[in-house]
């Protein structure tokens, strides 16, 4: 997938959204996904650390 194009008028929030969208479309493990909550993209993934499982959500 090619990088998005910018014309210099983008706000930091728009660049961050482009980064999350771009990253979400790259190939990742099945435990990774990008979800949207109130139009805000959130990065969600699950980790298994020995006997303990974690679900992490980043905004």
């Amino acid at each position: 997938m090619s990088d998005p194009t910018f014309d210099g008028s983008e706000s930091p929030a728009e660049i961050a959204k482009a980064a999350i969208d771009w990253f979400g479309k790259q190939s990742h493990g099945p435990d990774f996904s990008i979800v949207y909550k109130d139009s805000i993209p959130l990065m969600k993934y699950e980790l298994q650390a020995g006997d303990v499982g974690f679900i992490c959500l980043y905004d």
């Binding site: 998005p4 910018f6 210099g8 930091p12 961050a16 771009w22 990253f23 990742h28 650390a49 020995g50």
Partner: protein
């Protein structure tokens, strides 16, 4: 979290154009790309670092638990001071090893990443320790090797019909561009190397011409 990186992108741009200047009008168009690059890097690394965090957490727990247990053993000893000193020394070594392991992991990642950029290179092998000097034997060997390279370069220039100049020899052996000034630095690099290795350049030129 990601949006804040935009300010870092501004700083990265402004600091680095001092090293390699570019047209000021490119600033607006390049800033989003720099920010985007950093933001995607943060996202990619987050997945890896999050996993490492659990492993490091376990390592730290092992070390601190060992310390607590050792401390309780020392407290039961009849020779608390001497045993405490020995145990402290051992624990300090464990801490140093743990920190070195983390630093190595970070360095390996950063150096590996930089070395993936075709025009940048960070040596990965261990070089001469900082502040140490070359042995006389090594310096003599380096000088002999460089003298041979100079002779070969001089012959190559003469045989190709070019005018033999010190600049032409320097370009063959020490070609390079000064990133700060954009000028060819080969002659000064060559001159510095001759001085450092105590090589008599005119004598080599004379020797090659006589032999020819």
């Amino acid at each position: 979290m990601l949006e804040a990186f935009y300010e870092d992108a501004v700083k990265i741009f402004d600091e680095n154009v001092k090293i390699v200047p570019i047209e000021p009008e490119l600033r607006a168009i390049l800033l989003p790309h720099i920010a985007f690059s950093g933001m995607t890097m943060m996202l990619s690394r987050l997945l890896i670092l999050q996993t490492q965090l659990f492993l490091e957490n376990a390592d730290d727990a092992r070390l601190t638990t060992s310390c607590v247990f050792l401390h309780s053993l020392v407290s039961q000893s009849e020779h608390k001071k001497s045993v405490g000193r020995s145990v402290s020394k051992m624990v300090r070594q464990l801490i140093d090893e743990s920190v070195a392991k983390l630093a190595k992991k970070k360095r390996d990642f950063l150096v590996g990443f930089v070395n993936d950029q075709p025009l940048l290179h960070i040596p990965t092998s261990v070089g001469r320790p900082l502040g140490s000097t070359k042995s006389e034997e090594q310096r003599a060997a380096d000088a002999a090797q460089f003298e041979q390279q100079i002779e070969d370069a001089i012959r190559s220039i003469i045989n190709s019909g070019q005018t033999l100049t010190k600049t032409a020899v320097a370009k063959l052996l020490c070609g390079g561009l000064n990133l700060k000034t954009g000028t060819d630095s080969s002659l000064s690099v060559f001159g510095n190397k001759l001085k450092r290795l105590k090589i008599d350049y005119p004598a080599i030129v004379e020797r090659v011409r006589v032999v020819k």
